[in-house]
C-alpha cells in the first residue's frame, strides 16, 4: 500500500499545465495586438485538452465514450459558430 507512486503521465500533465499557465500570463502582457486574445484562447484550449486526455483519461477510451464526450463540444461548436457568424463576418457599418 505504501508502494503507491503518482503515475508519471499525471505528474507530467500537471507540470505541463502549470508551465502553460505561466506562458499564457506572460504572453498576455506582450503587445501582439488582436493576436493576444487568440493566443490566450488557443492556450486555454490546449490546457483543457490535456485535462480531458489525461486527467479525465479520454486518451485510452473507446470510440463510444469519445462520441458521448465529443457531443457536448459539437453542440457548443454549433452554438458559437452559428450564433457568432453574423458578428464576426459583418463589415462595419
Amino acid at each position: 500500500m505504501m508502494g503507491w507512486r503518482p503515475p508519471l503521465v499525471l505528474v507530467a500533465s500537471w507540470l505541463g499545465l502549470l508551465a502553460l499557465l505561466a506562458l499564457t500570463v506572460t504572453l498576455a502582457y506582450l503587445p501582439f495586438g488582436s493576436l493576444n486574445s487568440t493566443v490566450a484562447i488557443v492556450i486555454a484550449a490546449i490546457k483543457a485538452a490535456i485535462i480531458a486526455a489525461f486527467f479525465m483519461e479520454l486518451w485510452d477510451r473507446g470510440p463510444r465514450l469519445l462520441i458521448f464526450a465529443g457531443a457536448g463540444l459539437f453542440w457548443l461548436g454549433l452554438l458559437l459558430w452559428l450564433g457568432l457568424m453574423d458578428f464576426i463576418t459583418r463589415a462595419p457599418a
Binding site: G3, L10, V11, S13, L18, A48, A71, L79, G83, L84
Partner: protein
C-alpha cells in the same frame, strides 16, 4: 477489491454498471458545457460590440488572485486524478489523504474568490449594487462585470458541490473500498476535472484580455 453491494438488476455485470456510470456523467457534462456555453456566447457577443470596454474592465480584475486560483485548481485536479489511481491500486488511505488535499485546495480557491469579490465591491465594480467606471466605457464595462459575476458565481457553486461530493466519498472510503465506491470516485473526479477545465477558459476570457495595454 470487494464488490460491496454489488450491482442493480438492470446491469449484467459490475463492468456494465461502471460503463453506464461513466457514460452517464459524460452526458451530464455535455449539458453542463451548454450551460457555460450560453455564458460564453453572451460574452463573445458583448465583447465584439464593446472591445475597448472589455479590455479596460478586464484590467480591473485581480490577475494575481486569478493566476493563483488557476494554479490551485490545476493542482487540485492533479490530486483527484492521483486519488483515483491510488484507490485502483488499493492504496485507500493515500486516496483519502489526496482527496482531503484536493478539498482543502478547493476551499482555498473559494476563499480567494471571496476576497476578490470583496475587493471588487470596494472598487465599485459590482453591477446593480455599486458600480462606477470611467464614463466613455462604463456601459461596456458593466456588461463585462455582469457576465463576470454570473459566470464565476455559477462556477463557484459547482466548486462547492464538487467539494461536498469529494467529502462524502472520503467519508465512505474510511472503512473499506469497493468497486462501487471506486466507480463513484471516478464519476466525481470527471466532474471535478470538468469544473477545472471550465475555469481555465473563464480565466483566459476574464483575466487576460487587455493586459498588454492595448
Amino acid at each position: 477489491m470487494p464488490e460491496g453491494r454489488g450491482f442493480a438488476p438492470q446491469y449484467a455485470s459490475v463492468q456494465h454498471r461502471d460503463e453506464a456510470a461513466e457514460i452517464g456523467i459524460w452526458v451530464f457534462l455535455a449539458t453542463e458545457l451548454l450551460l457555460f456555453g450560453g455564458l460564453l456566447f453572451a460574452y463573445f457577443v458583448y465583447r465584439h460590440a464593446n472591445p475597448a470596454a472589455f479590455a479596460a474592465a478586464s484590467r480591473h480584475t485581480d490577475i494575481v488572485i486569478g493566476t493563483a486560483n488557476t494554479a490551485i485548481l490545476l493542482t487540485s485536479s492533479f490530486l483527484v486524478a492521483c486519488a483515483v489511481d491510488a484507490l485502483q491500486a488499493g492504496a485507500r488511505r493515500i486516496c483519502i489523504m489526496l482527496l482531503i488535499g484536493a478539498m482543502l485546495l478547493g476551499l482555498l480557491f473559494l476563499s480567494l474568490k471571496a476576497t476578490e469579490y470583496a475587493g471588487e465591491y470596494h472598487e465599485h465594480l459590482v453591477p446593480g449594487i455599486n458600480f462606477s467606471f470611467a464614463p466613455p466605457l462604463a456601459d461596456g464595462a458593466e456588461l463585462f462585470f455582469t457576465i463576470y459575476f454570473v459566470a464565476t458565481s455559477i462556477h463557484a457553486i459547482h466548486m462547492m458541490i464538487g467539494i461536498a461530493v469529494l467529502a462524502a466519498l472520503a467519508i465512505m472510503l474510511r472503512r473499506t473500498a469497493s468497486t462501487r465506491l471506486c466507480a463513484a470516485l471516478r464519476t466525481a473526479a470527471l466532474y471535478w476535472h470538468f469544473v477545472d477545465a471550465i475555469w481555465i477558459v473563464l480565466f483566459a476570457l476574464i483575466y487576460l484580455p487587455g493586459r498588454s495595454g492595448a
